[in-house]
């Protein structure tokens, strides 16, 4: 008998093992829901499948009685729009500042301590300031996402930039490169895939800040809907919304990973 650590599952077992935790969660929910509904058929905390299905039907596929909108669609568009703008702005700022801070000693001297301090500010503590400064509209939500993830992207990218071997920077100079050319031809192309990694890792935080901002002041959005439904204990709507948000977040991560693989093939060449 070989040691447990040396044994590997075959393809089928791997698939089954991967599915197992998901399956267990569903079974646990089904049992708990069944038990509660047996005691009280009107229980709202753990609704049965049919109730959830009806809620999905109502939210996703039937126009809202008051506005005529498909609520899931408008909520999704509103949230994804905010997330996309916020993450895009944070990526641009984080990319530029991170590379400058990581590469150029004068910028590092000026920025390194500042970004480390700013990164320690809890973004949600700044949220009231943002609401006061930018109003309750779209701007404050986007700024919260930016403020929330930009310090991480800057610091991560600055570290990755510092990891570029000193030899490469010297070599570029012996080939006649100016500071600008080093940035343009050596550093930026090597940092683009790292930037995508950095954005992937900050997406979770971006969703957190988005939902938080929407929960407090919004008229649409996935976070807004969840917190609105909380007032009615409408778990049949909240649960599918949470699953939907998880699916969206997972898809974004997956898309970024695929884009990185295709656009920066040099990173994956020569690896067996």
């Amino acid at each position: 008998m070989r040691r447990f650590i040396n044994r590997h599952p075959d393809t089928l077992s791997r698939l089954l093992l991967a599915a197992l935790p998901f399956l267990l969660v569903f079974i646990a929910y089904a049992i708990a829901s069944e038990a509660r509904l047996a005691v009280n058929p009107d229980d709202k905390i753990l609704p049965g499948w049919s109730t959830i299905e009806a809620a999905i039907q109502r939210m996703a596929f039937l126009p809202d009685l008051r506005t005529g909108d498909y609520l899931l669609l408008t909520d999704t568009m509103a949230s994804l729009g905010r997330l996309a703008i916020g993450v895009a702005i944070a990526t641009v700022i984080g990319g530029i500042v991170g590379i400058l801070q990581g590469l150029i000693p004068f910028f590092r001297a000026m920025l390194a301590n500042f970004t480390s301090v700013v990164a320690m500010i809890p973004p949600l503590a700044v949220l009231p300031i943002l609401f006061i400064a930018f109003g309750l509209g779209e701007a404050s939500k986007i700024v919260l996402i930016v403020v929330g993830i930009v310090p991480y992207i800057i610091r991560d990218l600055a570290l990755r930039t510092e990891e570029i071997p000193h030899e490469e920077i010297i070599k570029a100079q012996t080939l006649g490169a100016s500071t600008w050319q080093i940035i343009l031809r050596i550093v930026v192309p090597q940092m683009m895939p790292r930037l995508i990694d950095s954005v992937r890792l900050s997406l979770g935080a971006a969703w957190l800040y988005l939902i938080a901002a929407e929960a407090i002041a919004a008229e649409s959005g996935l976070g807004y809907r969840i917190f609105l439904m909380r007032r009615y204990l409408a778990m049949d709507v909240i649960l599918p919304y949470v699953v939907w948000i998880t699916f969206l977040a997972f898809s974004l991560d997956f898309i970024l990973r695929v884009v990185q693989r295709i656009a920066f093939r040099w990173m994956y060449r020569g690896q067996s």
């Binding site: 030899e167 490469e168 100079q173 012996t174 080939l175 006649g176 050319q181 031809r185 990173m267």
Partner: protein, 263 residues
Amino acid sequence: MTIVTVENVWKSYGNQIVLEKISFETAPKSFISLVGPSGCGKSTFLKMLLGDEAPTKGRILIDGTPLVAEPSPDRGVVFQKYSVFPHLTALQNVMLGLELGAAPCLGRLFGRKRREARDISRHMLQCVGLEAAEGKYPAELSGGMQQRLAIAQALVKKPKLLLLDEPFGALDPGIRAGVHEILLSLWHETGMTVFMVTHDLSEAFKLGTRVIAFDRRRTRPEEMEAFGATITFDLPVVRPSNPQPKAEAGQSPAAAPKMAAAR
């Protein structure tokens, strides 16, 4: 034809003196091997030639002009590792030097100029035997191929000086011999001056026209800080293909067997 003059160069970090009293002058078209034990400052000396570090005292002249204090295109370099850019193909790596020189804003060439740069670069790749690998990324090349690529990349700028910092240290002996041949033939063609740091004495004598050894003369622990390494041997290498030893030697050639014995 390049002459390098080193005038009483000292290098120290804080109180630690690394190199002291280094003075010599090279004949045109020299191939100088720098040898010595680990930590003797031979790589530091190469960094000073490169402009990555400045001498604490003294100065280095190329053809009578003091060295620019930062790396510049008249000095090519090949390191043991990280000499080529991982995000560029072999051909792009060689073209880079031409593009950077000709396009200050974008660092890229287009149209006819690009085709010209590409043809020059392809010729360089041919010289180092990499014409079949022009589309490959460095990670797909073997160690020997990467070093040949690094040499081609450096030589496309036609530097006066080529600085090699243990360039073949990580290569298998067989592959190493092949790269030696390529390097020697390129050196004969271009007539540039080459400085090579190595800790392989047979390599130093095989390739060099002159072998300079750095070492500490004083090695008692309490003397390690205040006394740096300096030139302990300076030997011309006489071989049929290289018939101009002249009066380069600082030490008597009789020291040669002693060096060999020191291995």
